[in-house]
Amino acid sequence: MREPIVIENLSKYYNKFLALDNLCLRVAENENVGLLGPNGAGKSTTLKILCGLIRPSSGAAYIDGINIAEKPEQALSRIGAIVETPEFYPFLTPEETLSYFGRLRGMRGDRLRHRIKEVIQLVKLEDWSTVKIEKFSRGMKQRLAVAQALLHDPPILILDEPALGLDPRGVVEFRQIIEEVGKKKTVFFASHQLGEVTQICNQVAIIDHGKLLAYDNIAQLEEKYQSLERAYLALTGEPIE
């Protein structure tokens, strides 16, 4: 079985603070895996290492077998990512922004124009495609972030709280998009929303203090702990009565 995402003994220190402690994780092809954990558990650190934004203190992370720290450009060409709250250049429009990032990924001409139109329609920003991003709300930027992550049709999606800032309709639409594209892609995404994870993912990894506490099928965790919520609470601290 192919494993597009492999995390091996990953540790990360921020000065003396240990954010990741020998984390090991393997995500199989076309799996949708949710990364759960309390604030400061190491979720964003894990995703940032996978996206080449920070370097691990020790261990390694691989995208399609490519060590991200050694060959970041090759590894990044296989992923679409949303990390933290997305921010864009305020003086550019969504079309220009997507054109910029698309060209950096080798897309051009009619293929790029067609794809930009497609993803803008997908995230329902058609009426705003030529408006400068400085006028955008947080939710609209989040939609644009989803569009840029899907632009080059990557086989792997790495998403950090992707529904943050979206209105209720936006959350539902986002879920539908990820459910649909997730059938053909490997999705690894961090979230605090257990309900969202349950609907999108078939597996979850629960981490705390940089350590992997559980990595299992959601159905099996629900069977063992009665619900994913109970599993999360039991694994990350004292259960709440």
């Binding site: 921020y14 940032k48 996206c51 080449g52 934004l53 920070i54 370097r55 970041p72 450009e73 090759q74 590894a75 990044l76 060409s77 992923i79 990512a81 990390v83 933290e84 709250t85 997305p86 921010e87 864009f88 250049y89 003086f91 550019l92 220009e96 054109s99 910029y100 990032f101 060209r103 950096l104 990924r105 080798g106 400068k132 972030a145 840029q148």
Partner: protein, 265 residues
């Protein structure tokens, strides 16, 4: 796709960002006001324009000089801004080497500054042509030195941008370095009669003294014929150009190296 093709893409879109920003037009406005101040203020305060076209050309260099400082305002947030405003989370997840991104940003900033400087020298040339009926060949040399100076200032700004947490810090540090610190050291060295061509501020002055040195400039504009309490030696143009080239290369290389090691936490 080659890194060169990616570089072209980065330059294109980073330049588009500069064109869309109001600060480009503000700097252009300041440069034009500076030129107008000389063109209108000089005959009003003195008895007409200087007799020597070289003196007037040197005086009008103030406009392109101001335009050069646009480099600081364009480049201050070029690298620091990606970290401060978190746009780097989008840009750096693209399969592009940091060296390509920083170099592309540098060329885009340079292109914007060249545009401003070029407009400044067009105004200088037209003014000289209208007032004196000719444009000295030294104007072209001054233009070349001004571009060198802009490149040096840009590299220094990129260096501060690569080490700063915020764009404002990078801008302030560059202004302090190029105007205050360099200026103080330059004054001390001038009074002590020591060479200061290695300072960016002195080297930048070469765009003015290319017209004939300090003596000509002072004689042309000072009522006492340019007498100062200490002697000023006009630095060698070649050394000044070399100095600016060193700032340009070292600043850019350092900013590329530091940016490549910087993590987006």
């Amino acid at each position: 796709m080659s890194e060169f093709e990616k570089l072209r893409v980065v330059i294109r879109y980073e330049f588009l960002k500069h064109i869309r920003r109001r600060r480009l037009y503000w700097i252009l406005g300041v440069a034009i006001v500076a030129e107008l101040a000389v063109l209108i203020g000089l005959p009003a305060l003195m008895d007409g324009y200087p007799d020597n076209v070289m003196v007037m050309a040197a005086l009008l260099s103030i406009g392109p000089g101001f335009a050069t400082f646009g480099a600081i305002f364009f480049a201050g947030d070029a690298i620091a801004g990606e970290f401060e405003s978190k746009t780097g989370y989008m840009l750096f997840t693209n399969p592009v080497r940091r060296i390509t991104l920083v170099t592309g940003k540098y060329f885009a900033c340079y292109a914007a500054v060249i545009l401003l400087v070029l407009l400044g020298y067009v105004i200088v040339s037209i003014s000289l042509l209208v007032i004196y009926g000719n444009v000295p060949i030294e104007t072209a040399k001054s233009f070349g030195l001004c571009l060198f100076y802009a490149g040096g200032v840009l590299s220094v700004t990129f260096f501060f941008s690569s080490v700063s947490k915020g764009a404002m810090g990078a801008t302030v540090m560059t202004l302090l370095f190029t105007m205050v610190i360099s200026g103080i050291i330059e004054s001390v060295l001038l009074m002590a009669g020591k060479p200061s061509w290695f300072l960016l501020s002195t080297a930048g002055d070469s765009m003015v003294y290319v017209y004939g040195g300090y003596e000509l400039f002072l004689e042309g504009v000072m009522p006492n014929g340019g007498m100062l309490p200490f002697a000023i030696e006009t630095p060698d143009i070649g050394l000044a150009a070399l100095s600016m080239a060193v700032y340009l290369v070292v600043g850019l290389v350092l900013s590329i190296w530091i940016s490549g090691r910087r993590q987006l936490t």
